[in-house]
């Protein structure tokens, strides 16, 4: 049993990208998937317990060794590099894509109330957002979604790990009311000039 943990530890260490449970199982053919998962959980707990500088984390559908967030200053000192940070506009756009995907640009813009071409292009360049396809409506607008890299960068296991939206409940309530009064629905259509 102890051996499994050691093997898994080695496998995760040599993997460049987060190592999927299935891949570990493909190596440890004689071991049940449940046992592998169990060993992984134990490993995670051990690293946690030891207050190690490294922790084993589940990100983007796999397992990866990462440094502890509290130690970032030391690592940055060693690396001497400053990471490109995301602007508020990019972060807002990214959040909307993440929660509302698959989504077209017009929908993002209606939520943000401004043009999102620039931040969206930046997110595509950074490979945090990708083109998922085209919506089957006139104009065939491009549909956007987040990438696996988004999960890796934001330390997320999968999309379901995104924190629930705070105001979601209230919004849903408002939408219900909204449906009851179609007369107020098209306030934006009223000529504004």
């Amino acid at each position: 049993m102890e051996n499994i943990k050691a093997i898994i530890e080695a496998l995760v260490l040599v993997s460049e990208a987060p190592l999927a449970l299935e891949k570990i199982c493909a190596v440890l053919t004689e071991v049940e998937k449940v046992q592998v998962k169990d060993a992984l959980d134990k490993l995670i707990a051990e690293y946690e317990e030891r207050k190690s500088g490294i922790c084993l984390q589940e990100v983007a559908g796999g397992y990866q060794f990462r440094t502890r967030a509290e130690l970032s200053n030391w690592v940055k000192k060693l690396k001497g590099s400053k990471p490109a940070s995301l602007s508020p506009a990019s972060l807002e756009t990214l959040a909307i894509v993440a929660y509302r995907q698959p989504i077209v640009k017009a929908e993002i813009e209606s939520i943000r109330g401004v043009d999102v071409s620039a931040p969206l292009r930046g997110l595509l360049d950074k490979k945090l957002v990708r083109i998922v396809g085209r919506k089957d409506v006139p104009g065939k607008p491009i549909i956007y979604g987040t990438t696996r890299k988004f999960l890796e960068v934001f330390n997320l296991k999968d999309l379901s790990e995104l924190p629930t939206l705070r105001e979601l409940k209230e919004l849903n309530q408002s939408q219900e009311i909204d449906e009851n009064i179609p007369s107020q629905e098209n306030i934006e259509d009223i000529p504004s000039s």
Partner: protein, 247 residues
Amino acid sequence: MNEEQTKDYAIKLDIFEGPLDLLLYLIKKNEIDIYNIPIALITEQYLHYLNMIKSLNLDLAGEYLVMASTLIHIKSKMLLPVPEEPSDEESEDDPRFELIKQLLEYQTFKEAAADLGKRPLLERDVFVRSAPMPAEIEKQDTEEEELIEVSIFELIEAFHHLVSRIDNKELLEIDLEKMSITDIINDVMERLTREKNLTFDELIGVKRSRRNVIYTFLAILELIKLKMIKAYQTSVFGVIRVFPAVE
């Protein structure tokens, strides 16, 4: 509003992400209940901001003007007497409803964005073991430099750069030398296997004829297409280095 306040606003202008953000700011500043916005007050302050942006000669995004007209429209609607039905407090006919909905939604995502930004971010808060450099690259003095895969556009850019350096007189010469892309491909591969890696400039060579340069460029494109070589650069506009793609 006096001059001082005007200055105060000016500093804050660039922090707004759009008309909704500006409205949220005004709501927060006035400590207003978002479900019961005093439209007259907010409209007045909103328009005041717009004038400020204009007086500063800043580009006023069209979205801000659309919002201004929406606000004025809501304000005028609220001034009209509600026909018959006794005012049902926050009745469903509230002309502010759509705006409130929009504001709440925007606020939600603004918060969600802030939450995302607070997560332990890769390369900012948490780090992974650095990927090993291919052996060939390590030999070069490129340590600490991260290699980016080169796109076709950068290759073309580099090609233009080289061609522009070739003496124009070349154009008048008639080159009888027989060349085929296959020859050049072989030549390029030979040089690459010998040298392990070469920069784009080295590969093409400045002193060669225009025809040779073009052929070599086509050969490089062909080889990349065939996945026989790989091109990397250390930064945008950096030196492009070509490697044989042997595993």
